[in-house]
């Protein structure tokens, strides 16, 4: 601690940035959530009406629960689908070039716009979509499965497809870093493949899972586009609520939803970081 002044000088760009673009907006959002909202205007008179309305209304509180449910499902499915892919890329592909090529392949869908990626699911999942036609042609089903599109299921399918790559990347990175000699060492000590997976690979890849989970969580909790495009506006997430409230100039109410969303996210991220000490692991 030789030069306190110098330290602060070096820290200042970061501090200024975070204060201006993170702390100040957050405080502002919390502040606005207590303002008094009338039909077309908002006044800085403190009240808890918006908060009471949010938690006493089935529509809004239900949206919160639905958001958490869909987020949790998407998170679990991305782990279940993403882990084997990451394991394959990280452990079974020894060639580094091929490893990189496969990871790049995972992000190819991102070369098109978000909306196209989401809307592309409609002709796949629809009543007369590709999946239904295929299953009918193969004689597996007689009538088209209607639950595939404009339901919570279609929202989950769409989200998993979009966000699974954010799970694959960090896990593949962590698994790729596991030294082959550890696995050989475990094998020489008499461990079977399954034991090596459970006792060595799985715990060592946990930081990747945590980072992936944080990525997916932050993106899914703030989602609104996939939900409205693939559910036919039937599935309302907290993100959709914010959009409609802002659209009808209900700033206080939108701020309440925003604060709730931020708290849910922050709680989850905090729990995750407690489980795995990322600083030690990365």
């Amino acid at each position: 601690m030789r030069s306190n002044k110098g330290t602060w000088l070096l820290l200042s760009p970061g501090i200024i940035w975070i204060t201006l673009f993170l702390v100040a907006p957050l405080i502002m959002m919390i502040y606005v959530s207590f303002w008094t909202q009338t039909t077309f205007s908002i006044k800085p008179d403190m009240t808890v009406v918006s908060w009471v309305n949010f938690f006493s209304s089935d529509t809004y509180f239900g949206a919160l629960l639905r958001t958490i449910r869909i987020w949790f499902t998407v998170l679990m499915v991305t782990i279940l689908v993403g882990f084997p892919v990451a394991l394959y890329i990280g452990q079974f592909i020894k060639n580094k070039t091929l490893q990189t090529a496969l990871l790049v392949t995972c992000v190819i869908p991102f070369w098109t716009s978000f909306l196209i990626r989401v809307l592309a699911w409609r002709p796949m999942l629809g009543k007369e979509g590709a999946i239904n036609i295929l299953l009918q042609k193969m004689g597996i089903i007689n009538a088209p499965i209607e639950v595939l599109l404009y339901t919570e299921l279609s929202v989950i399918i769409g989200m998993v497809q979009i966000y699974v790559v954010f799970m694959v990347g960090p896990i593949a990175f962590m698994i790729g870093r596991i030294d082959g000699s550890l696995i050989e060492g475990a094998r020489d000590l008499g461990a079977s493949t399954w034991t090596i997976f459970r006792r060595i690979i799985l715990p060592l890849s946990m930081p990747g899972v945590i980072v992936g989970a944080i990525f997916v969580t932050v993106m899914v909790l703030g989602e609104f586009a996939t939900a409205s495009a693939l559910s036919g506006r039937k599935v309302n997430l907290l993100g959709n609520i914010i959009i409609t409230q802002v659209g009808s100039l209900k700033w206080a109410f939108a701020a309440v939803a925003g604060v709730v969303l931020t708290v849910v996210m922050a709680t989850f991220v905090a729990i995750m970081l407690r489980i795995v000490n990322l600083r030690n692991q990365l």
Binding site: R187, D188, A191, R199
Partner: protein, 355 residues
């Protein structure tokens, strides 16, 4: 007892291990000396079951284990890089094999605790049990790696350059400790190294490997005094190797003794120990091989002088301080080198010792 019979291994057409056969007896310390790229690590991996030989077989106590997967062989393998599990502490690293092995895992934690504690005492890691592997020193990591293998009571323990990453002091201490640990457990060790001193000091039996082949095996003292193979002689780093068309002229110049005529005729190479060469001034009356002094290296208890002889080869002369006073030589000045006939080893065209 471990028997390796005619084992070969290729990697995409390039031979790494070729027709290797040897035996490690019960309760024996065997060292395998080889330079990097000689195939010694591949050989260990073939024995451990981390690689499968293209040809040949490995037997453990008379039973073929060539087709047995690594985790069913019960051969301990202490890796060069230690390969400790970074998410487990020292205790759990050592207990890993007992807890999680396929054959006969130990379920009773009290037995595990007893065995792990005994091994921890044996390798001198008392008090380190709860530390993570990132918090301990290189020497301690090496001990954990050894303990982790020994606690599973392997039938034979393979050590891949176990002292390679340790500093000189620690290495010297570990050479003695490794031998003590082995003696106490009565298990056979096969220790692979690129360091000739380590190989000589530790092995009851010693193998020298070069280009994927075992070129010589035997007791370390014989290996050092009379290497049967020129490659062994080179790997001892104790011999000046003379060769070329003027070989006999060079040898004759360095001695007034009568040299054995038949050996001299058949010899393509000769080896003279570095510490068996004398230096005299160019003006001295006695005849000697003329050589230009290049530089010297002071090593505490000895000094090594480097000379360039007429054909351009470098000749090293080792002077032990206990035997002779240190001489100050002038750089680029010419001196004469002498030896005795009895110290010369003769090698034929096939690089094997003559007579």
């Amino acid at each position: 007892m471990l028997e390796v019979k005619a084992v070969s291994k290729n990697f995409s057409g390039v031979s790494a291990v070729e027709d290797v056969s040897f035996t490690v007896n019960e309760n024996e310390y065997v060292t395998l000396l080889g330079s990097s790229g000689s195939g010694k690590s591949v050989l260990l991996r073939l024995i451990a079951g981390l690689l499968t030989p293209d040809e040949g077989d490995v037997f453990l106590n008379g039973t073929p284990i060539t087709d047995l997967p690594c985790h069913e062989r019960r051969i301990g393998f202490v890796q060069q890089k230690y390969a400790l599990f970074p998410h487990l502490n020292v205790y759990d690293n050592i207990a890993f094999g007992l807890r999680h092995r396929v054959i006969d895992p130990v379920k009773d934690e009290s037995i595990i605790r007893k065995k792990v504690q005994n091994t921890i005492e044996l390798v001198g890691l008392v008090g380190q049990e709860t530390k993570m592997t990132g918090q301990i020193s290189g020497g301690q990591k090496q001990r954990v790696s050894l303990a982790r293998t020994l606690v599973t009571e392997p039938k034979i323990c393979l050590l891949d350059e176990p002292l390679g990453a340790l500093d000189a002091n620690l290495r010297e201490r570990m050479t003695i400790e490794l031998q003590n640990i082995r003696r106490e457990l009565g298990v056979s060790f096969m220790h692979v190294t690129g360091n000739e001193f380590e190989a000589l000091a530790m092995g009851q039996n010693m193998l020298v490997m070069s280009d994927g082949r075992i070129v010589q095996q035997g007791a370390p003292q014989d290996m050092y005094a009379r290497p049967q193979d020129l490659i062994t002689a080179k790997s001892m780093h104790n011999f000046n190797i003379f060769s070329g068309d003027d070989l006999s002229a060079q040898l004759k110049a360095g001695t007034s003794d009568k040299l054995p005529a038949t050996k001299l005729k058949d010899a393509h190479f000769c080896a003279i120990p570095m510490d068996k060469i004398d230096i005299s001034d160019a003006s001295a009356k006695t005849s000697g091989l003329s050589a230009e002094f290049l530089t010297s290296e002071f090593l505490g208890n000895k000094i090594i002088y480097f000379f360039k002889i007429e054909n351009g080869d470098v000749c090293e002369v080792e002077n032990h301080m206990s035997l002779r006073e240190r001489r100050e030589l002038k750089a680029n000045a010419t001196y004469q080198l002498h030896w005795k006939s009895k110290d010369i080893l003769y090698y034929g065209e096939n690089k094997q010792l003559l007579g």
